[in-house]
Amino acid sequence: MTDTPVDEMSFEEAMKELDGVVQQLERGDVALEASIALYERGAHLKKRCETLLKSAEEKVAAITTDADGTPVGLKPVDGQ
């Protein structure tokens, strides 16, 4: 388990841990108390994954540069 709070985890982190939690729980060799705690953590991780999946949005912009090629701003791009 990482020390990162679940709500700050990246999708990958949450996914990895959720996978571990599920496997651990499925092995069925954890004490009942621990398995309930595991379940709760798993549910939390799953929620984090769902949140990150829902927040997916497309936003496309092109960088505008000055004469020297230094970026100076953004210009929206039609996603086509």
């Binding site: 990958e12 398995s35 799953k46 497309e58 092109a62 540069t65 090629g69 953004l74 996603g79």
Partner: protein, 515 residues
Amino acid sequence: MDLIDDGQEAGNAPEFTVSELSGAVKRTIEGEFGHVRVRGEVGRVSRPQSGHVYMDLKDDRAVIAGVMWKGMAARVATKPEEGMEVIAVGRLTTFPGQSKYQLIIEDIRPAGLGALMAMLEKRKAALTAEGLFDPARKQPLPFLPEVIGVVTSPSGAVIRDILHRLRDRFPRKVLIWPVAVQGDRCAPEVTRAIEGFNRLTPGGALPRPDLLIVARGGGSVEDLWGFNEESVVRAAAASQIPLISAVGHETDTTLIDFASDRRAPTPTAAAELAVPVRLELAVWTEDQGARLTRALGQGIALRGQRLADLSRALPRADTLLDTPRQKLDILADKLPQALSTGVQRRRLALSDTAGSLRPAALRRLIAGQSDTLGRLSARLGPALARFAAQRRRDLDHRAARLQPRRLKAEHETARRELDRLSARFTAAAQAQLADWRRRIDTADRLRETLSYRATLERGYAVVRSGDQVVTSRSAAADAMALEIEFADGRFAIGGGAKPARKAKPAAPSDQGSLF
């Protein structure tokens, strides 16, 4: 020769100075060959300090000297090397001081595919040797990048394909850095874009991408050439942001593909490498949730089952007690019987013992004991006698060792010694006594000489009051009675004080000696 002959014939022909002729040649050549493309093999190349590059261009029959001025040499992408088949673009000029002409080269590039590929191989080998393509340098791609930077042409199918595929899989924030994807501007712009993305700070006004895609559609080797340039390759290798290259079609390979962290065969494939499919992740997440719930439920159900099994296996309390209870019954049944049997057995033992307890037996026992006593008593007398005899023998033995002669001799010696000591003692004592007597007589004579009585003989007297010697008038005045001693006796008179009674008669004269 014809010219000279003609000249001789046409004696009127104007005469040029050397400079004029040289200038005319220069004008003609520069006018006629102001822009030429020439194909040839690069001969000797020299690069002096000045920065200009001198080279010969040749084929099997001729040689033309060429020069590339410093500024041009820096701009041109191809570095001419001896033996390289090139196409040079430039103009001819003359060098009148030495009657020479040369090609001022403005652009030079490998001629034909073979030459191009040979050069590419050479460059690739050099960069490989430098470790730029080392697999250890490759960075893993992020699983789900937040911001994707795309270096490509802003218009065209490539960016559209990428955006489409991203949208299908997992819509993300995309930053496009527009660049030329072919021609001379391509390499510097792509280089600057890769470096520029790396310079952005995370969370800044322009968000720094977590992943870069450098993409271009298919084209000829020459079209894709920019992505073979060293600056692009170096920028891709140095990129801190993981980089996917997707240049040309699957069969096209450019050097950036070796330096990038992943190579995608097409721009669409790059988008697929860049992000996972959201739907699949959603399904996976849902599935994990279901597995989670199922696993917990199963865990609980299993435990419930196990509990039930164990409960069934647990015998009823009554059943548990049945056997002991039965045992108790049996034992309770046996108890009275056992009691009477026990009493009976003890009674039997008692009667056995009591039976053997008879006077005759006692008497027998006593008789036995007195026999023993008699035997021992009989042994006592002789034993005592034996003992006494033994003692006596010991005594006699010791007495025999006592010798009266020796005792007697010792006694004699002691007696003689005693006699001798007695005699010595007597003699010594008598001598001592005689000595003492002499000393007493001497002392007595001395005493007589020193005695106050001798003084009395000379007429002095001693006045006494009672036992006290009166030596002063005041003492005499206080005395009740006085006594005067003369040489021939004492005489009492009344004292200075009023006589209370008649003076005592004088003490007898024989009272004198104080001794």
